[in-house]
Structures are given as structure tokens and as C-alpha cells.
């Protein structure tokens, strides 16, 4: 032990995320000041916009739903030592599955439609994660480059489908027709309406519950099952894992497919929840935010949920801020997100010093 004072054990996991959040806030504050606005009042506007009203909280939770899914997707792959940049594409392809299932679900009994849609979306997302996984495991393809390419392939596929075969007849927009009622995720507003309370107008829906269940599921899988142990062992040291008899192919492919399945939740929340139809570019960069969420949550399901709530509040608060002060556009959130990724992912890391490693 060195003589250096150590922080208490319970504090340590929170130290880097909090420090990086501080750094990101500082950077964002600097950007706001450079534009000529008051950073403190902007900060107050973000907090008030995201947490100051029932509507704000509902929108925050709606965004957080997306980030829980994408953050978990990145985190699970990261635990296996795989950097999955393809969450955006996996969610996009999952959206095709969600839409096809939803458009054909009118004949199903009402209680069967949601699980049917959920499973179809998850299978499509898992497939889009499986492909880069198998290419890495069997052919040695670089996972990062392959998943980037798969993002573009997914977006080309989606735009072709929406221009030609899936477009609603007679529609000028590249979108499908509306999903039937049984295919829509129950909205929080519907619940409020039952009690006759004021509606929030937010797209918050039952996908949030699915997201929380997914977080629990990911936690159980990673820390309570053999497959999860294999994933973590492989991520920690793939040579040792292989020596211990863990199959590299199975671990890589399994982790990537599970990651893709988690990404499909974004399609669920956006399509079956908010939009009620398949539209172009519904993934809206949420898949990339997942990287920041996972890094900030230290690739742990509990951390991911907390970080997702923070980013949800940032998104909602940022939208309110942009509405109040037109000079500060919503893109400030993207900047903050970039600084978070930079701070947690790069600046926090320090190359091992010679003689110590």
C-alpha cells in the first residue's frame, strides 16, 4: 500500500462518473458563456425543464427509456471486450421487425400482440448484432469497423423499405401506415385518463417497464449465470478465458446478439410507443448516446439506469432550454455527451507507468 490517502470504498465507483459529469458541465457552461448567455440560468432552466413539472419528468423518463436500452446494449458488449458502435443500426433493423409484427398483429388477440412485437423486434436486432459477431469470431473482422458499416447498411435498408415496399399506399411520406391499436404500447397518459387526471402529453409508455426489466435481466445474466461469467471472463482476459475452456465464438456471438436484442428496445419505445408507425431515422442518434451512458454507468446495469436518467433529464432539459433561449440550440446536449465520453473514456484512463505495470 502506498501512503496516499484512499477514498472510502463505497465512493470509488462513483468518483470517475461524477468527476466526468463535472468536467462536462464545466465545458458546457463555457460553451454557453461563449455564446453570450448566463451558464447558471441555463443550468437552472435545464433542471426546471426536466424535473420541475410532471410533464418534464414524464418526458425525462421517456428519453431515459431509450438510453437504458442503448446503454445496456453497449455495456453488455463492452463487458465481453467488444465495442459495439452498431447499436444505432441494430435498433434500426429491430424497427423493421417491430413494424412488420405490428402491422400484422391486428388479427392477434390483444394480450398476444405486445409480446409478439417485442420478440420480433428483439430477434431482428439480435440478428443485426449476430452478424458482426460471427464475422469477428469466424473471420477475424474488426468489430468496430464492421458495426459502423452495419449502421450504414441498416439505414440504407430502412430507407429503401420505406421508399418502396413498406410505404403506406398513397402516402407521400416515407413511412408505413399507422399500427393497429393492439400493437401500441399503453401510454402513461392512458393510465392518467382512467383516473380523470390531467394528461401530460408525453409519449412515456410501458416500454419504460420493459427497459427496467431488461436492466434486471442484464444484471442477472452478467452476474448470476454461467453465460454472463463467460462474457466477463472473456472481456477481462480473452487468452485466459480461452485457456479455461470458454468458447470464444460462443461468447462473442452471444454477447453481440444479446446486445442487439437490447438495442431493439429503442425501436419498441419509439415506434410502438411514441410514433405508432415506422418512420425514417427514428433511431435519432440515441444509439450513440448509449456509448456515453454505458461509459458513465461503468458498464454496470445499475450505473446504466442512473446514467440514462441523467441523460434523459439532459435531453428534456436541453429541449426546454432551446425553446426558452433560441440562441442555445439543442445540439448543446450532443456537445456535453461528447465531453462525457472524452472524459470517462480517454482522459480518465492513464497509461500504466513504466516499472509499475
Amino acid at each position: 500500500m502506498t501512503a496516499r490517502a484512499r477514498s472510502p470504498r463505497w465512493l470509488e465507483p462513483a468518483l470517475a462518473p461524477v468527476a466526468s459529469a463535472g468536467l462536462a458541465l464545466l465545458a458546457a457552461g463555457g460553451a454557453v458563456a461563449a455564446i453570450g448567455e448566463n451558464p447558471f440560468s441555463a443550468f437552472v432552466a435545464i433542471v426546471a425543464g426536466s424535473l420541475g413539472s410532471v410533464e418534464g419528468v414524464c418526458f425525462t423518463l421517456y428519453y431515459a427509456t431509450n438510453f437504458i436500452f442503448t446503454g445496456l446494449a453497449v455495456a453488455v458488449a463492452y463487458r465481453a471486450g467488444l465495442f459495439n458502435i452498431g447499436v444505432e443500426g441494430q435498433a434500426g433493423v429491430a424497427g423493421i421487425g417491430v413494424a412488420l409484427a405490428a402491422l400484422n398483429s391486428a388479427a392477434l388477440p390483444g394480450f398476444l400482440a405486445p409480446p409478439f412485437i417485442l420478440v420480433c423486434g428483439a430477434l431482428c436486432g439480435a440478428f443485426w448484432g449476430f452478424l458482426p459477431g460471427i464475422l469477428l469470431a469466424r473471420r477475424g473482422s474488426h468489430i468496430v469497423i464492421t458495426t459502423i458499416m452495419f449502421n450504414f447498411l441498416a439505414s440504407a435498408l430502412l430507407s429503401w423499405l420505406l421508399v418502396a415496399p413498406l410505404r403506406a399506399p398513397g402516402s407521400m411520406q416515407p413511412e408505413t401506415g399507422p399500427f393497429p391499436g393492439v400493437a401500441l404500447a399503453p401510454k402513461f397518459d392512458d393510465l392518467l385518463a382512467q383516473f380523470g387526471w390531467t394528461l401530460t402529453g408525453s409519449p412515456l409508455n410501458a416500454s419504460l417497464i420493459v427497459a427496467l426489466l431488461a436492466a434486471v435481466g442484464a444484471h442477472v445474466l452478467l452476474y448470476r449465470t454461467r453465460a454472463g461469467y463467460e462474457i466477463r471472463a472473456f472481456g477481462a482476459n480473452r487468452h485466459a478465458a480461452r485457456y479455461a475452456g470458454i468458447s470464444a465464438t460462443r461468447t462473442i456471438v452471444g454477447a453481440m446478439a444479446f446486445s442487439g436484442a437490447l438495442a431493439s428496445g429503442l425501436a419498441l419505445n419509439e415506434l410502438a410507443g411514441a410514433q405508432g408507425r415506422l418512420i425514417l431515422e427514428f433511431t435519432g442518434g440515441y444509439g450513440f448516446v448509449g456509448i456515453a451512458v454505458a461509459l458513465m454507468g461503468r458498464n454496470h446495469p445499475v450505473g446504466v439506469v442512473l446514467a440514462a436518467l441523467l441523460f434523459g433529464a439532459l435531453y428534456q432539459g436541453g429541449a426546454e432550454l432551446a425553446f426558452e433561449r433560441p440562441k442555445i440550440s439543442r445540439d448543446m446536449i450532443v456537445l456535453v455527451q461528447g465531453f462525457v465520453v472524452l472524459a470517462v473514456g480517454c482522459l480518465g484512463a492513464r497509461a500504466p507507468q513504466p516499472g509499475k505495470a
Binding site: I85, S141, F150, W160, I291, A351
Partner: protein
């Protein structure tokens, strides 16, 4: 196809390939020296914004070009600091650069010009005019950059050292040469080339900046780099081919071809990505990156 339309197709292929080629060469410098860079997209975007913003404020395309180079260089040095000095994860850092560029350009654009992030349309001296055969200065310079890259990296001592930093940095350090300095030099050149590509996008191809105008060109450049197997001559050819593909995609919109019928534009647009996946998987040839690229260098004791 008659002679005229063939020539115009080639001319537009050359024009469209210029930003991709610049970014591809930028990635080549960086990765040859051992720093993986998926932040090419962000640097292109930053260059495009800085170029258009300064050109619009000063009315001079030359000053715009200088600003584009400076902005992309700044981001490249940030990438360098995080990945060379701090030993950070280079891919994560590249993603961060992309996000910072996307956010900062749109934010500054909205704050400066108040037109939803875009700059006012550039006119006259604020744009890079075609110099020769419809090609602007950067489109003409890009192939020369490829030649210069080939010469410097493979025919000079500096280039040898730079490549050693990417293949076997410990050997370079043992020879008494600083790996850190070689990598910083490469990252700086990477930034300048991205700035050049970005300036071409905003000052020559378009008349001003639009948020997100790099539209995946930095990632296409990454694909081209894999395709070219990290070689400058091949990079030139691959980027020209990708430019030709883009030019064809524009022209083939809604045109029925003999035998195949109308090809969906998306299929042509997706082709570079699909081919890259196939090549990376080693179904056709093999693409191996420099041995030490992506590995933070730690000095031996």
C-alpha cells in the same frame, strides 16, 4: 453513353471523391503511426464549419481554408492528447471527437448566424471557384496529397520512423527516436488533411455549411482505408471508385438499366459499406491494419 456524358461523369467523380480522399489519407497517416482514428467524420465536419463560418464573416475563401485547417488540427491534437499522452481508448476517443464536432458546429452555427445552424450562402470570393476542368483547387490538390503521402511515408526517414511507430513502436524507441513525437506528427497531418476535406465540402462542393453535412463521408473514408489496405496509391484509386459510385448513384436515380431494371439508389449507396464488410471478413483478399495501431504506447523501463 456518349463522350460528353462520360467526361462529365468522370469530372463529377473526381470532385465527389476529393473530401473522401482527404479524409482517407488523414486516416492513413494516423493509423500508420499507430493511432486509430474513427473521428475523421467529426474533423471533416469541424473543418467544414470553421471554413464556411470564417469565409462568410470575412468574405475570403482563403481565410476560410486556414480556419478549416486550424479547427480540424485542434480536434486532432485533442485526439492525440487523449490517446497518446493519456493512453485512452482510441476508438472511444474518436467517437467523442465526432460528438463534440457535431454538437459544437451546430451550436456555434445557431449562435453565430441564427439560421438553425447553417451559415449564410457563400458567394463570389468566399467560395473556392473551379480552377481547371470544373475542378476546384482542393479537388486538384487531393491526388497530389496522395502522391506526397506515398513519397513521405515510404521514401523518407521521417516516414520510416512514422510507420515504425505504428508497426513496432518499441523498436523505434530502442533506436532512440521518440514514438510520442512521431505519433503527434502523424495526428497533426491527419488533422490538416481532414481540414482540407472539410473546406472542400463547405467552400467548393456546397456554398456554405449545413449541420451534419459530412453525412458519413468520414466513415466512407474509413472504409476506403480498409479497402486500400493502408496504402496511399490504392487509397487514391479506391476513393476515385467510391466517388464514381456516388456520381453514378446520383445519375441512376430512377433510370432503368438493361437486364437489371431500376437499381434502388440505396443499393448503390450501400455498396461501399457492403464491400468493406466482405473485404474485412477476408472473403476477398485480406486487409490487415498496422500491427500496433490502436495500442497505446508505454515506454519500456
Amino acid at each position: 453513353m456518349d463522350m460528353d456524358s462520360a467526361l462529365s461523369l468522370i469530372a463529377s467523380a473526381l470532385r465527389l471523391s476529393a473530401p473522401i480522399l482527404c479524409a482517407c489519407l488523414a486516416g492513413l497517416w494516423s493509423e500508420r503511426a499507430g493511432v486509430v482514428d474513427i473521428g475523421l467524420e467529426g474533423k471533416l465536419l469541424a473543418g467544414a464549419f470553421a471554413g464556411a463560418a470564417v469565409a462568410s464573416l470575412t468574405g475570403s475563401a482563403q481565410l476560410g481554408l486556414v480556419a478549416a485547417l486550424a479547427a480540424a488540427l485542434l480536434l486532432a491534437l485533442l485526439h492525440g492528447y487523449a490517446s497518446i499522452d493519456r493512453g485512452g481508448e482510441q476508438i472511444v476517443c474518436g467517437m467523442a471527437i465526432n460528438m463534440i464536432a457535431a454538437g459544437a458546429t451546430a451550436l456555434c452555427g445557431a449562435a453565430l448566424f441564427g439560421e438553425g445552424g447553417r451559415t449564410p450562402a457563400l458567394e463570389g470570393a468566399a467560395r473556392l471557384a473551379p480552377l481547371f476542368a470544373g475542378q476546384d483547387a482542393i479537388a486538384l490538390a487531393a491526388p497530389c496529397c496522395a502522391a506526397a503521402t506515398g513519397f513521405i511515408l515510404f521514401r523518407t526517414r521521417f516516414g520510416l520512423r512514422l510507420r515504425a511507430a505504428g508497426e513496432h513502436p518499441h523498436a523505434l524507441e530502442a533506436a532512440g527516436v521518440s514514438v510520442r513525437r512521431a505519433r503527434y506528427a502523424a495526428v497533426a497531418v491527419c488533422g490538416l488533411l481532414c481540414g482540407l476535406g472539410g473546406a472542400d465540402l463547405a467552400l467548393a462542393q456546397a456554398a456554405g455549411f449545413l449541420p451534419g453535412m459530412s453525412a458519413g463521408k468520414g466513415f466512407i473514408a474509413l472504409a476506403a482505408l480498409v479497402f486500400a489496405k493502408w496504402r496511399p496509391g490504392a487509397a487514391l484509386l479506391v476513393c476515385l471508385a467510391f466517388g464514381l459510385l456516388e456520381a453514378c448513384a446520383i445519375r441512376l436515380q430512377g433510370v432503368a438499366l438493361p437486364l437489371i431494371g431500376a437499381v434502388p439508389v440505396q443499393a448503390i449507396q450501400a455498396l461501399p459499406y457492403l464491400l468493406t464488410v466482405i473485404l474485412l471478413a477476408g472473403f476477398v483478399g485480406r486487409a490487415n491494419p498496422p500491427a500496433a495501431s490502436g495500442v497505446p504506447f508505454v515506454k519500456g523501463r
